[in-house]
Amino acid sequence: MLNEDKIRLMCRLASYENGEGRKVLPITGYYRSDYISLEMLKSLLAGTLAFAAVAGVFVFYHFEYIMENLYRTPWTAYIRKGVTVYAIFMGIYLIMTYVLAALRYKNAKKSLKRYYANLKKLWKTYTVEKN
């Protein structure tokens, strides 16, 4: 026979898994440190690519000057400057990533609490049925 309470609970669980849970469940599959590290690794790659794109445009913008002063330009100083700018940019970007990832993980855990509570209730209906 159909157990209406059980169906209601399963509906709630399925609705969560299809909606909010779709974003939350993959996050909570990781340990906090693993999730944050992975996000920071992704940011390192993304930030480096973005910086390379901007640097490429910058080189194009000053292409004429660079070609004219190819042998007179103090390249070491420029490269040092570039590396410093890259380090500052990546520092800020990685800090932002850390804060955001930590916040997202915390919210995901919080959101999962209700899901686990419903799962527990569902488990109880099974134990009641067995008894």
Binding site: L2, M10, G47, V57, Y61
Partner: protein, 331 residues
């Protein structure tokens, strides 16, 4: 007023019930409109600037998620730019890539705000974005609106200066890129409008969250007024070349559109029909969960029971549940 509220709940109810059909139709109409606007403004690639192509693309957009729809719009813009000059497409691609890698990666849902802002700019009503996004978004959306404005200004710049881009320095690649970067970096109107929009958006957001009556309506009107005053002041002091009539009319239209957004504030209590599938050890369940409509329309009978008026009459949905009334639902 009660009739308006009834209409609103009726529309919400219908939307919740037939969401599976209405969403693709809405996406189709929106995509069709936006792609036609893009083609109208920067239709440099003749193959794309044809109605059958737009129809096919819009049809495709109606069945894919909104994030991918935004990618289709972006692809259209890039292809048109490529047809004008590959350098244009390169600069545009770099700008889009930066937005995607640095920002959209964290907030993928904001992609549409960026594209809508750029399209609203092309339609000369960018003023609607800080008001509408301030109402339905968060302060983070200010970044999306800024990026959208930047994209809109770049498209406009390329569209206006297309002949110059083709002829600058005999069409040398580096010169074209420099010309476009100059247009993007030293664009005074863009910078001013971005700053004003950020201030307006945050102000609308803060006011609409205040716990006062009509905070949403106050937020819209105050946002519109502040936006107008700031832009007019900037025009007088810094002279970036804004059209005064454009600012005034644009903000009036923006306030009207923001009120429409307020009317359809779906994000507050919107529930949609859900089709769920699950199983236990005995059954497979295919459940269709339909949301209840919280206000039923004029078929409510209100009967006064403790006063000297024995008449029974029909009253609208706003009928109070105050003492002396019982509400009998005939549905």
């Amino acid at each position: 007023m009660s009739q308006i509220i009834e209409a609103k709940f009726l529309i919400k109810g219908l939307y919740g019930k037939y969401e599976a059909y209405i969403n693709p139709i809405l996406k189709f109409i929106m995509s069709m409109f936006l792609l036609l606007v893009i083609n109208g403004k920067i239709g440099y690639m003749e193959r794309l600037d044809k109605l059958p192509i737009v129809l096919i693309a819009a049809l495709f957009c109606s069945f894919i998620p909104l994030k991918l729809v935004a990618c289709v719009y972006g692809l259209f813009i890039l292809l048109h730019m490529y047809a004008l000059a590959p350098e244009c497409a390169l600069v545009m691609a770099v700008v889009m890539f930066l937005m995607m890698v640095i920002y959209i990666r964290f907030v993928p849902n904001e992609t549409l705000v960026i594209l809508l802002t750029s399209i609203a700019y092309m339609l000369k009503i960018p003023y609607v974005m800080p008001l509408a996004v301030g109402l339905v978004g968060t302060p983070v959306s200010a970044i999306s609106v800024s990026f959208g404005l930047c994209l809109g200004y770049l498209i406009q710049y390329i569209s206006v200066n297309s002949s110059t881009i083709l002829t600058v320095d005999d069409g040398q690649m580096v010169s074209r890129i420099i010309f476009m970067i100059n247009g993007l970096v030293s664009n005074k109107p863009m910078i001013i409008m971005t700053v004003v929009f950020i201030i307006t958006l945050i102000m609308v957001y803060v006011i609409r969250r205040l716990s006062v009556d009509y905070s949403w309506a106050i937020a819209i009107i105050a946002g519109g007024i502040v936006d107008t005053i700031l832009l007019l002041m900037c025009e007088m002091i810094l002279n970036p070349g804004f059209s005064v009539v454009g600012i005034l009319l644009g903000n009036i239209v923006a306030i009207a559109i923001a009120f429409v957004v307020l009317f359809f504030d779906f994000h507050l209590d919107y529930k949609k029909t859900e089709n769920l599938q699950f199983e236990d050890e005995e059954y497979y369940y295919y459940v269709k969960a339909v949301p209840k409509i919280s206000v039923s329309s004029s078929n409510k009978k209100v009967k006064r029971i403790n006063s000297s008026y024995p008449t029974e009459y029909v009253k609208g949905s706003s009928a109070g549940r105050s003492s002396g009334y019982t509400v009998k639902n005939d549905r």
